[in-house]
């Protein structure tokens, strides 16, 4: 899991909106804050010194509330927005130096995108929408039909090819959006709040579909969301953005167990930790000696372990990974992990009294 190639890498990326971003950039590098920049120079600091490595075959989730700059950030990856300063390296090459022709090739062949509002072509059929990337490359309908149908089938829309997007429900439309991205056969998929416009139940379905597809295809996915549950469910690597800057990034379990600052503690406070935390992140890394009550997988959630223990506090389990014992987990450890770190509890108390 650790030694995957870095597919896309963002280096010291800045984006400043305003009339004279270049001179505002100097002030920002000199330490001017977002609020001060807006007040004194009337420029908006969109992104502030972003550094992210996106690994091949992983889902990198960029999470933040609205206005945190996450949608701006994802649009830098295929240069729908030009940065003020910094580098975006795709397989080691800085795409910001590429000309339009090379950029177009990149967008057509190696990066596809799924949008929050689906952004299907309303005057084209579902099949034509799914084949849009290939049609854009100049393929005839007969050539892309097979490929488009294959992916429509795969996302569960077999037989809908002749219909128009407005005849489908929101969830189905986004399935077309995903099929469109998959049909382009690109290595990198950018998903901008792809599931945010859907009902909770459909959203869960779509998340499962994405994970299922990812198991099979191992694309490099960059997923934007404002929903922490969704982020924790999908992420291999989680980046938390606030006010245009990265607050913390890393493995989601680590962020949950060891939040770097009060902002993240507040953020993770409302999470159902039992369902998100995995055995592997709380276990002791020595296989148990003597009596155990059973075996659990290292990737099982704490919730399922509690269910296995039937609520009994004196149980301990052997943790298995691919048939080998890799650690021990005891119920008290699980219970401790379910309570957020102490400092956040204090913070909550103080905020309660303040309120």
């Amino acid at each position: 899991m650790t030694d995957k190639n870095i597919k896309v890498s963002i280096r010291h990326l800045y984006k400043i909106f305003g009339e004279d971003p270049a001179s505002a950039l100097k002030d920002v590098k000199g330490g001017l804050s977002k609020a001060d920049l807006l007040e004194t120079r009337n420029h908006v600091l969109g992104l502030n010194d972003i550094n992210v490595d996106i690994k091949e075959g992983e889902i990198t989730v960029i999470m933040g509330l609205s206005g945190s700059g996450k949608s701006t950030l994802i649009r830098h990856l295929n240069r729908l927005i030009e940065p003020t300063a910094g580098e975006v390296l795709v397989e080691g090459e800085d795409i910001l130096k590429w000309n339009t022709r090379r950029m177009r090739k990149l967008r057509r062949e190696s990066m596809s995108m799924v949008f929050q509002k689906f952004a299907l072509l309303p005057h084209r059929t579902v099949l034509e929408n799914a084949g849009m990337a290939l049609a854009t490359r100049g393929r005839k309908r007969a050539e892309y039909e097979g490929e488009a149908n294959k992916w429509l089938d795969r996302v569960g829309l077999g037989g809908y090819g002749g219909q128009y997007p407005h005849q489908l429900s929101g969830g189905q439309q986004q399935r077309v959006g995903i099929a469109r991205a998959l049909t382009s056969n690109s290595d990198i998929m950018l998903m901008d709040e792809a599931f945010s416009a859907l009902d909770p139940l459909i959203r869960t379905d779509m998340q499962d579909l994405l994970l299922e597809l990812q198991d099979e295809l191992h694309k490099t996915i960059v997923f934007i969301t404002h929903d922490l549950d969704e982020a924790l469910k999908l992420a291999d690597h989680l980046v938390i953005l606030n006010n245009g800057a990265i607050v913390q990034q890393g493995e989601p379990q680590k962020i949950l167990l060891d939040p770097a600052d009060p902002y993240i503690e507040d953020f993770v406070a409302d999470i159902n930790r039992a369902r998100v935390l995995r055995v592997r992140s709380v276990m002791e890394k020595t296989p148990p000696e003597g009596e155990v009550s059973g075996e659990v997988d290292h990737d099982a959630t704490l919730e399922s372990v509690i269910a296995d223990a039937q609520g009994q506090m004196d149980r301990r389990f052997r943790v298995m990974r691919r048939g080998r014992a890799v650690g021990t987990i005891e119920m008290p450890e699980i219970m401790r992990a379910l309570v957020p770190a102490k400092s956040s509890a204090e913070a909550e108390e103080s905020s309660d009294t303040a309120a």
Binding site: F115, F118, L120, L121, A133, H166
Partner: protein, 344 residues
């Protein structure tokens, strides 16, 4: 003695004024004052605005307003020959098209022409109801012996509306792509739209011979082109930003975006512009009959000139009937486009 004499005296410009004073024609008021012998003293309430005429009274070197209009005319006449060399050959195809269309539509026998028109209506609308309506209207017009006039009017509208679309849609596309272009074109469109239609005709009469059909053709096109330009620009600018972004994200070129996304999605708006353009060319065809445009307008004009109430009314009714028919047909075509790609 004029009001502003004192001003020029104190400025020491008296010599300059009188030096230039010449035999500029005397105004009627001056003449009256001279003959009656009374000095025209102005009371405080009649104190004039320092206009060209008022200043001219005090100082002969300053031109009168009349000179401005005359200067404009002289300037236009001086330009005319140069303008003609350029504009005449450019617009010649218009004359040719109008002549041919008029010839075809009036010389084809009615029992061929009417079915062809009705087939055209069906091809555009796919609605038998509209075809029936148009058939009824044309039959009424033919029954009161206005068939020939109606065909002439229709011929002019077809040619002019076609050219409006041919020129107007590309202009609208250019406007939608560049804000600067939009800033330049919009005042021109505003001017074309607000200028009284008769004013188009005056310079055109100077430019072209009255026997040339392009004389009224150009007037109709200038007047009617505005909505199709405006609505093409608007339609393309209103295309969903998200869809455009998706087109960019999948690497479409500008042309792929224009023809594959923007124009198809702007089509309902463009068609609304075409509808307006057709209606406005019908309005202008009537006015253009003053400069020899044939058709129902001639009859309206005759009604006004000779006070033939009945002739004017029947021709006016014929125009209304044509307007309703054209409007219903284009609206039905628009609805068909709308339905086939439907709303988001």
């Amino acid at each position: 003695m004029a009001t502003y004499d004192g001003v020029f005296d104190t400025l020491g410009l008296r010599n300059w004024c009188d030096g230039g004073s010449s035999g500029a024609p005397m105004s009627m008021a001056d003449l009256l004052a001279q003959t009656s012998g009374t000095e025209n003293t102005t009371s405080f309430w009649d104190f004039p605005f320092p206009s060209l005429d008022a200043l001219h009274d005090a100082c002969g070197a300053i031109p009168q307003t009349r000179d401005l209009t005359q200067g404009l005319e002289a300037g236009f006449l001086a330009l005319r020959d140069g303008l003609r060399v350029v504009v005449d050959p450019l617009t010649q195809p218009l004359s040719w098209m109008l002549r041919e269309m008029l010839y075809v539509m009036t010389q084809t026998p009615w029992f061929i022409m009417l079915p062809v028109l009705l087939l055209l209506v069906y091809a555009v609308t796919r609605a038998w109801k509209i075809v029936g309506l148009v058939a009824l209207f044309l039959a009424i017009l033919a029954f009161v012996d206005h068939y020939g006039y109606a065909m002439e009017t229709l011929a002019i509208i077809f040619v002019c509306a076609f050219i409006c679309v041919l020129i107007g849609v590309p202009i609208g596309i250019l406007m939608s792509r560049s804000d600067r272009m939009q800033r330049i074109v919009i005042p021109i469109l505003d001017m074309l739209q607000t200028l009284p239609p008769f004013v188009y005709l005056i310079p055109l009469i100077f430019l072209f011979s009255v026997t040339e059909p392009k004389l009224y053709g150009i007037a109709v096109i200038l007047y009617a082109i505005v909505p199709v330009v405006r609505l093409t620009d608007l339609g393309i600018r209103l295309v969903d930003k998200d869809v455009i972004e998706a087109a960019d994200a999948f690497g479409m070129t500008r042309n792929q975006k224009l023809f594959g996304v923007q124009i198809p999605l702007a089509l309902p708006n463009i068609m609304a512009g075409v509808n307006q353009t057709i209606m406005m060319s019908l309005a202008m065809v009537v006015i253009a009959s003053m400069v020899s445009a044939p058709g129902l307008g001639i009859l309206v004009l005759r009604g006004i000139r000779n006070l033939e109430l009945g002739v004017g009314l029947v021709a006016g009714f014929g125009i209304v009937v044509l307007a309703i028919a054209l409007d219903r047909v284009t609206k039905a075509a628009l609805a068909r486009i709308d339905a086939s790609q439907s709303s988001r």
